[in-house]
Symmetry: C2
Subunit: 385 residues, 2 copies
């Protein structure tokens, strides 16, 4: 069978699904999405859209029946349903088994530790007294984390002194959810290693991106990262190892900390194309989205070389909440070398990821300056109701 004739199903029709489709369509793949929002970003370019909740077993079954290979654009899916579908013979990548481990940050870290991959020290928190144990072992500050369901810093709470313990514990469900406490790593940089692993186990990595966050939300990724060759080699090697440990198929993003003494510690893993890899659309020969599609379809992976330095900036929604309005599109496009991505979410909310832009240039500093200038020219705001 011609591999390009495989029908692809994507659970989720947000911006990641949309960007997967924009690449997949170049090769004429047919795509069905499942998303509860009728006018989600991927809607207008998908061949078919099953409007259903992500935990709707019947709808997921329907998606699997209509397609030859399933993938997903976010990790908070009922993995039991996916396991059942896989048992019925459907192809799902990344595999439900690897997703299952990744969904629980404690189990994720346990597997990494077991494989001698360096992570910040951590312990499981079942009751409040476990937090005190963590403090004894690690000292302040410590990071209290929900083991499941967190993203963009949600589900994390920093404990800087004893007086924070009660509130942090309450904030994260007071023991109702699985929690873990982690030694706070005073890192100097946070980087992303994007790795793509094929069905046959071959893996390739992308040029390392250096991330800047504001209030735990990614605002900028700069590539190449300003790191030593030793750190780069270590981080890329961890990327390959992790993709093997999790038997990844498709794109995995691994966020890592670099400490003052140049150690590389693994922070978190996302089993999908990631915001910090958006720069690859303009910056690399083959984008993370195209390689994700190639990997899950069993096709050879594409070259990931950086073509020019690239700086990506997120465009988060600004207040008030309401129907999304793009302000400043002419100004942003008048900045040289900038490409604009507007996701097409109908509602803008403060902090919601509404789009991003990428500036490319032979010189990283110029790219960063252009990205900053462009970012300041645009706003996606909700129209007052």
């Amino acid at each position: 069978m011609n591999p390009l004739k495989q029908k692809i199903g994507i659970i989720g029709g947000g911006q990641l699904g949309k960007m997967m489709i924009l690449e997949a369509k170049k090769m004429d793949f047919q795509i069905t999405i499942l998303d509860p929002t009728e006018h989600c970003p991927a809607h207008s370019i998908a061949d078919e859209h099953i409007v259903a909740d992500f935990d709707d077993r019947q709808a997921l079954e329907q998606l699997a029946q209509k397609t030859d290979v399933l993938t997903y654009e976010f990790e908070h899916i009922g993995v039991d349903i996916l396991k059942d579908l896989e048992a019925e013979g459907y192809s799902i990548y990344p595999t439900p088994k690897s997703l299952d481990i990744i969904q629980n940050k404690y189990n994720q870290k346990e597997l990494l530790k077991k494989n001698a991959l360096p992570v910040p020290e951590y312990i499981k928190v079942e009751e409040k007294k476990d937090i005190y144990t963590a403090v004894e072992q690690f000292g302040y500050p410590i990071m209290l984390k929900s083991c499941t369901g967190g993203y963009d810093g949600k589900g994390n709470s920093l404990i800087e002194s004893e007086s924070d313990i009660k509130d942090s514990f309450a904030e994260l469900g007071a023991g109702k959810n699985l929690l873990m406490a982690e030694k706070f790593v005073p890192f100097t940089k946070e980087i992303s290693v994007i790795v793509c692993r094929g069905r046959e186990g071959e893996s390739i990595t992308y040029p390392i991106g250096e991330n800047n966050h504001e209030e735990s939300v990614l605002i900028e990724t700069k590539v190449p990262a300003d790191i030593s060759t030793a750190v780069e080699e270590t981080a890329l090697e961890y990327g390959h190892q992790i993709s093997d440990v999790f038997s990844a198929v498709g794109i995995f993003c691994i966020e890592m900390f670099i400490t003052e003494d140049e150690r590389v510690l693994i922070n978190e893993i996302a089993p999908r194309p990631h915001n910090s890899g958006h720069y690859s659309i303009e910056g690399c020969i083959t984008s993370q989205f195209e390689n994700h599609i190639r990997a899950i379809a069993g096709l050879p992976l594409g070259n990931t070389d950086l073509v020019q330095a690239a700086v990506m900036r997120n465009i988060l929604g600004t207040a008030p909440q309401g129907e999304a309005q793009v302000l400043g599109s002419e100004e942003v496009l008048s900045v040289d070398n900038v490409r604009l991505h507007v996701y097409g979410k109908k509602i803008a909310r403060p902090g919601r990821k509404m789009g991003h832009l990428t500036a490319t240039d032979k010189d990283l500093k110029r790219a960063a300056a252009k990205a900053k200038q462009a970012r300041e020219a645009i706003e996606i705001v909700g129209e007052k109701q």
Copy 2:
């Protein structure tokens, strides 16, 4: 009004329309296409598809009503309908006026000549005896051309000696169609200048591509072209001038001949993104398709710098005619640095443009070798019925 909220209508849903949409969707434009073929290449990614013939006045009117700006992916449209729509107040780019002149190669050449832009010598042919006049003036060989409707060498007939005259004249309609006779230019290279002109008259050019044809159909474009700086500067200057002369809005492609004595002669103009500009998707900061959309939407034009050397090869259908089958997709994608475009035409016919591929590399020779290797690995063939 937010310029990104403009709805765009495209007459034609072939590969050019498809590639326009893939770029337009990044910025969240809404697109309606008009094409008689239900499952045309652009169908699955358009917001709406009016299935109608290109000369269906009512359907074109409907397309204009549904959208804010109209464009087209091919030049053989009834320009009278477009003129009427423009008179009714609809925005159409490139303008029907410029399309009208371009549709007739004789008028096209007349306007170029009037503006001191160099073209091969030519005369109008109304009767067979005019061909003899051309022979007297230019000597053999001469190129007999239909003034309207030709593409990919169709509508052209080479007259090498007196014995060809009768057949050539008969082949092109024996005077039923408008004809012209052109002095045959013994060119050493054929190049393409892609120019984009905005609504305000600003124009930018792309790096010049060097074209290779087989049986009058483009098979390869190499960028940068192997030409002298003097030729390059002259050709680019002609590009800007031509876009002004025709009051272009959007992408125009100008095919030019370079003679042995380094003269640059203008061959033909296409008022739209062109096959010889496909390399810009991977090769340039902003592709011809994105800049076409930016131009017709009144947005600032994007940087056209070449990021890496790029070589595009067309994938023409091979016999037999039938339902299109892609053979060798794994092999083609295993060639480093190659990106594959499959248009999704349902029926493959020998010589039909079914897809293309582009190899990029720091080194042009390596890019050319990779494109050649990849092209040899893939075939799009009709399945026997």
